[in-house]
């Protein structure tokens, strides 16, 4: 039965890429808003 478990191929990498991209975007937004406040 174990061999019927599907392999996820390269898609975990796609997931990690999307999460890193979104955290980078959120980080950039925070830095931008702090610069707007203090800059």
């Amino acid at each position: 039965m174990r061999d019927e478990v599907e392999d996820n191929g390269p898609w975990f990498g796609v997931f990690v890429f999307v999460i890193v991209l979104l955290f980078a975007a959120a980080g950039a937004a925070v830095v931008h808003s702090l610069m707007a406040t203090f800059g």
């Binding site: 039965m1 174990r2 019927e4 478990v5 599907e6 392999d7 996820n8 191929g9 898609w11 975990f12 796609v14 997931f15 999307v18 999460i19 991209l21 979104l22 975007a25 959120a26 937004a29 925070v30 931008h32 808003s33 702090l34 707007a36 406040t37």
Partner: protein, 568 residues
């Protein structure tokens, strides 16, 4: 063709057994489920098309629509996506959570069909009323705030849509009644329990809708002379936010169902998860009060009790689910021997190639970070002052509904196509990519709206903010954010179109499905109880989430202390 799609092969008793789940599925439940799912996709197409036009108008460098057109398409966008796409899906989820999970017939099938007909006719009436709105009537947007007058047909359509939804939900409640009558000491499965809580929240919201919209209709046709604007606002949000609470409960029910179906998740504590659903019953309706934070007709005490006290009962419930579901994936996969013993092997080996799982997982993560954190912040009276009526508000609810709920429902529909329509997905690689493309683009659009609203104070619902006629004042500094919004929203609409292409194409041209899920449900693994297995990976991710939560909370208070100089 359409009728053929709705049919299946059943035994003489009307049941068939799902080869994947082992569930006994009766025709009386499966046909309406397909019908409601297909109708929801039609609403998704209409609302998504309007979304593109709205986004390309708020990207003011493009400025696609004139203001009069803008409000028409904004109303169509809101009603199709926030109401029709969601509610048709949610009735379908009730039929999955009730008769299909319980292995029963759907009692009162005729009521389900009557409800569907009334809902579709009402939706068409609302679309027509919005499309043909002309002075002195105004576009309703989602809120249709009285005493601003919209078309009488609009109010009539809303009333009948609510009634149709109640009628369509009745067979679900009858099914639960039959189950409990026959098994008074039995416990409902968690997915059924979640659907039942969703149904109760829905009834509350829909009754609130009738209390609001029946008098408003009577006022609009002249039977009632006066309608109190403050009364309307308070009553309206029973359904205005109530419908979003239905989305939340239905989405979380879908999370439990889909993570079990696709990734081998288990429920690590039935009592804790059920307790969290019950917390929603008592407290989530209070969340509606956060829409009235700046309302002059209500006291500060009323606002604070409903939001800064009672609403935290619902926040606690959400945090419990946010831990319980990933912990269920982690412990369930460890129990099945998947991913080894490392901290995150269970996550690395999860079925990220499967759009049913990836859409669900992205929904859980992105809903928490984008919709959840900002919802708590803006649900607090003090912090709300920074966001009220700015573009940050749509930024928040696109994080909840457009990212969280829509992704969850897309993931569910991928498996409705495979397990109920029994069709293989066409354009397989595009289907695998679609949740990532949609989740990323919609999240960036959501963040751009939040940034434009919080940093620059760009108003919501206003198509012209960077070159306001008659004044030198403008929000032009926010133009880059509006450009990011426009581009990201266009990509999200493209990803939505891919979903529709795959879904409709699979129904029309898909091969007969090879009935399977990424982790066979027959793979039970260890005999030890699931809570014996480590959940340390989820704990680490949960602590990181709380750290981000605290960070944003602290920053918001810092910004509040600098409110009058902020952004200058």
């Amino acid at each position: 063709m359409a009728i053929g799609l709705l049919e299946g092969t059943y035994g003489p008793d009307g049941f068939r057994t799902c080869e994947v789940t082992g569930l006994k599925i009766h025709r009386s439940a499966e046909v309406p489920l397909k019908l409601f799912g297909l109708t929801a996709v039609v609403a998704l197409i209409l609302g998504g098309t309007a979304a593109l036009l709205v986004a390309l108008t708020r990207w003011e460098a493009v400025g696609l629509l004139r203001p009069t057109q803008f409000y028409k398409y904004l109303s169509l966008h809101a009603w199709n996506l926030l109401i029709f796409w969601m509610v048709f899906m949610e009735v379908g989820i009730l039929y999955v959570g009730g008769p299909i999970v319980l292995g029963r017939k759907l009692p009162g099938t005729r009521l389900a069909r009557i409800g569907w007909v009334v809902m579709v006719a009402s939706a068409v009436l609302i679309e027509y009323a919005i499309w043909t709105t002309a002075y002195p009537n105004q576009q309703p947007l989602l809120t249709s705030y009285a005493p601003m007058k919209s078309s009488a047909l609009f109010y009539l359509g809303v009333d009948t849509f609510i009634l149709g939804t109640v009628v369509a939900a009745l067979p679900f409640f009858a099914c639960i009644w039959q189950e409990k009558s026959e098994n008074p000491n039995g416990t409902l499965p968690l997915v059924t329990f979640g659907a039942f809580v969703t149904g109760i929240i829905a009834v509350e919201a829909l009754l609130g809708g009738l209390i609001t919209y029946v008098p408003t209709f009577l006022w609009r046709i002249g039977v009632v002379e006066h309608i109190d604007a403050a009364w309307y606002r308070q009553m309206y949000w029973i359904i205005g936010h109530g419908t979003q609470q239905i989305n939340l409960a239905a989405m979380i029910t879908s999370w439990y169902f889909m993570t079990h179906l696709t990734a081998g998740a288990e429920v690590v504590s039935e009592k804790v998860s059920r307790g969290a659903f019950i917390l929603y019953l008592f407290f989530i309706n209070m969340g509606a009060a956060h829409h009235l934070m700046a309302d002059p007709a209500l006291t500060a005490g009323w606002k604070m009790w409903n939001t800064s006290y009672a609403m935290y009962g619902a926040v606690l419930a959400s945090l419990i689910h946010a831990f319980a579901i990933p912990a269920g994936i982690e412990a369930g996969r460890r129990k099945r021997g998947l991913g080894g013993d490392s901290w995150f092997g269970w996550l690395r080996t999860a079925p990220w190639h499967d759009p049913g799982f990836s859409a669900t997982a992205l929904s859980i993560i992105l809903f928490g970070y984008l919709g959840g954190i900002t919802g708590v912040l803006m649900g607090q009276m003090q912090l709300n002052t920074m966001r009220h009526n700015t573009l940050a508000v749509p930024g928040h609810f696109h994080g909840t509904v457009a990212v969280g709920t829509t992704l969850a429902f897309m993931g569910l529909l991928y498996y409705v196509i495979r397990l109920f329509f029994r069709k293989e997905w066409i354009l397989d690689r595009l289907a695998r990519l679609q949740p990532y493309l949609y989740g990323a683009a919609m999240s960036i659009a959501s963040m751009a709206m939040m940034e434009a609203g919080i940093v620059y104070g760009v108003p919501r619902r206003d198509p012209v903010t960077t070159s306001i006629p008659g004044t030198s004042f403008s929000f032009s500094a926010a133009s880059p954010m509006l450009a990011i919004l426009g581009i990201a929203a266009a990509v999200a609409v493209l990803a939505g179109a891919i979903f529709v292409l795959v879904a409709v194409g699979s129904l029309l041209f898909g091969k007969e499905a090879r009935m399977r899920v990424p982790v066979p449900l027959s793979l039970t693994g260890s005999e030890r109880p699931v809570h014996d297995f480590s959940m340390r990976g989820t704990l680490a991710m949960g602590l990181f989430f709380m750290l981000v939560f605290v960070l944003f909370y602290a920053m918001d208070w810092m910004w509040l202390s600098r409110l009058w100089t902020f952004g200058t």
